[in-house]
């Protein structure tokens, strides 16, 4: 189920709860209202019963028949209001109670009649009246009390019911939102980790079950972005490689000139002095020609090998191998540019797990930059070294060229950052950075304007 649906569902459940509580509370309140009305009525009745009894006392004191008459009137009024109440609020008060009350009232009325008809001083009838009056009032009093208590009970029970329901709704809302946000946060954390690693140049993916909701779509989108970026990076690496070949061929072309010249001079002499040759020196010269063609073949093969697009191919390797290959490719460019090269390669250096071709390309990029930073020539120092305590192998490239201004340093690894105008695409270092990152390595730079620049590459030592 989608997260949106889950949230809607949980909200709907809560709304239903709240509506139910509301309805219940409403019903309770209206019941309470009628009960309160009844309590009011019975309060009134109580009051009039009290007055009846006062008149009753008056009669006993002064034997004024008027008092009895008053009582009768009051009884009539009370009967009316009881009948009225029976119609209005019978559902709130038990019918039985009301009719009992009505009966007591009737008996009382009967007793009043008896007294008024009997001769004065009929103590029997008078006693009867008194007893009935007391019963009526007691009954009405207790009934009122009971109803009042009932109303109180209802109020407190609906109060606690409201509290319980309130807590239930609150708890489910909190639990549901906690569950959902937990779930969202967990996936978002995965996505965050991935995007961070992507921004560092590691084009990984989120693996494992992908949920079938919005987060799932997000994860799928980020995954395919990562895939696309990695493909683009490969394309970029290849593009930069082809671009470096432009620089390399200038050097390599010169390198080809010498063996070509050698072959040419031998053949010119062959043609010119053919008759002077004996078999022995003819064979010697043909061997020379063969040697020179092999020299050419090697140079061309080196370049072709470098330029060919290659699948990333990580192998256990000696770091010095790609370094030497890169130096070979750059040999002539260095020569022509008046760069004095010093190489110091570590012996028996621990192996690394690398793509030779890519590391070679990184070195070509760094060496090209170094040469370009020394327009009138200079000194270049290339070193490999193992650092056993850190578990790394380091390649260091030091030039004593122009150096990099401090304000440029944060940007030199950015794609397309270049200070070389049309001469540079600004891809060399960014591509190198990507390659080294993919090897779980680091590339650092130190530079001082006017003094030179040092690039250091760190690669982890390979452990079986």
């Amino acid at each position: 189920m989608k997260i949106e649906q889950k949230i809607i569902l949980s909200n709907a459940i809560n709304v239903v709860f709240i509506v139910l509580i509301g309805l219940l509370a409403f019903q309770n309140l209206s019941l309470m209202l009628t009960k309160l009305r009844f309590v009011e009525i019975s309060d009134d009745l109580n009051a009039s019963f009290l007055e009846m009894r006062l008149s009753e006392k008056n009669y006993f004191l002064y034997h004024d028949k008027n008092s009895l008459f008053e009582i009768k009137e009051m009884i009539d009024a009370a009967e009316k209001s009881i009948d009225q109440a029976r119609e209005d609020i019978s559902h709130a008060v038990s019918e039985e109670n009301l009719s009992r009350l009505r009966m007591h009232l009737k008996e009382y009325a009967g007793a009043v009649d008896k007294v008024s008809n009997a001769a004065q001083g009929d103590s029997n009838a008078e006693l009867m009246l008194r007893a009935q009056g007391k019963r009526l009032r007691d009954y009405s009093k207790t009934m009122t009390q009971i109803e009042r208590k009932g109303v109180n009970n209802m109020i407190s029970s609906s109060k606690s019911m409201l509290i319980i329901l309130f807590i239930t709704v609150l708890v489910t809302a909190v639990l549901v939102s906690h569950f959902i946000s937990q779930k969202i946060l967990r996936s978002l954390r995965d996505v965050k980790k991935l995007t961070e690693s992507i921004s560092q140049g590691n084009f990984n993916k989120i693996v494992g079950a992908i949920p079938n909701d919005e987060l799932g779509s997000l994860i799928t989108a980020v995954n395919s972005m990562s895939e696309e970026l990695s493909r683009r990076e490969e394309e970029l690496i290849q593009a930069k490689k082809l671009a470096s070949i432009g620089v390399l061929t200038a050097g390599v072309a010169h390198e080809l000139t010498n063996p070509l010249n050698n072959i040419s001079m031998i053949t010119q002499n062959f043609i010119e002095l053919y008759d002077n040759f004996n078999k022995e020196n003819a064979l010697g010269l043909l061997n020379n020609i063969q040697g020179e063609t092999e020299r050419i073949e090697k140079i061309v093969k080196n370049l072709l090998d470098f330029s060919k697009p290659k699948e990333v191919n990580l192998t256990e390797s000696d770091i010095n191998r790609p370094v030497k290959k890169a130096l070979r490719l750059m040999q002539n460019t260095l020569d022509v540019s008046n760069v004095e090269l010093t190489v110091n390669l570590a012996k028996d250096v621990p192996h690394v797990f690398i793509d030779d071709n890519q590391i070679q390309q990184v070195l070509v990029n760094l060496l090209t930059n170094a040469v370009q930073a020394m327009p009138v020539g200079g000194r270049l120092y290339v070193e490999t070294e193992a650092d056993m305590t850190r578990g790394t192998v380091e390649i260091t490239v030091v030039d004593n060229g122009n150096g990099i201004p401090r304000e440029y340093l944060p940007h030199i690894f950015d794609p397309f950052f270049s200070t070389k105008g049309a001469e540079g695409t600004g891809l060399g270092l960014s591509v190198s950075y990507g390659i080294i990152k993919n090897h779980n390595g680091h590339i650092r730079v130190e530079s001082k304007v006017g003094e030179g620049t040092t690039f250091t590459i760190e690669l982890p030592i390979y452990k079986q």
Binding site: H254, T257, N258, L260, N261, N262, I263, S264, M265, I266, Q268, N269, E272, L273, N276, N288, E292, D335, V336
Partner: protein, 120 residues
């Protein structure tokens, strides 16, 4: 008999130059680098020095300058694999007799040598 010195770190260049030039009746000595060649100039007189432009250690331009200061009568012919306008101009300023990009046409080289010797 005219004496010619060839300096080039490519051994074949020296060998082939000698083979061809000896046929013309010149006396030829070859060197793989500049320092021993210059030392040899102190001992023997040469009419022409053919030198490569780009060599390990002392390069062709330095050879040209040294010869022009110490033995101005020697003619210098420069050959180079890195032919471009800058190197040519630099060489001409240094009073080079002739300038050949590799691959060298031996016939042209021989003609140039002949001209150099005739001027004397």
């Amino acid at each position: 008999m005219s004496r010619i010195m060839v300096i080039d770190d490519e051994k074949i260049v020296g060998d082939m130059s000698r083979m061809s030039l000896e046929q013309e009746g010149y006396e030829v000595e070859t060197f793989l680098n500049a320092e021993p060649a210059l030392a040899r100039l102190k001992e023997e007189q040469f009419d022409i020095v053919i030198t490569d432009y780009k060599m390990k250690g002392m390069d062709g331009m330095e050879v040209l300058r040294t010869i022009k200061t110490m033995y101005p009568e020697i003619k210098v012919i420069m050959i180079t694999a890195f032919a471009n306008l800058d190197t040519a101009i630099e060489a001409l300023r240094g009073d080079v007799h002739d300038f050949f990009p590799k691959p060298v046409k031996i016939k042209e080289l021989k003609a140039s040598i002949k001209r150099a010797l005739q001027k004397e």
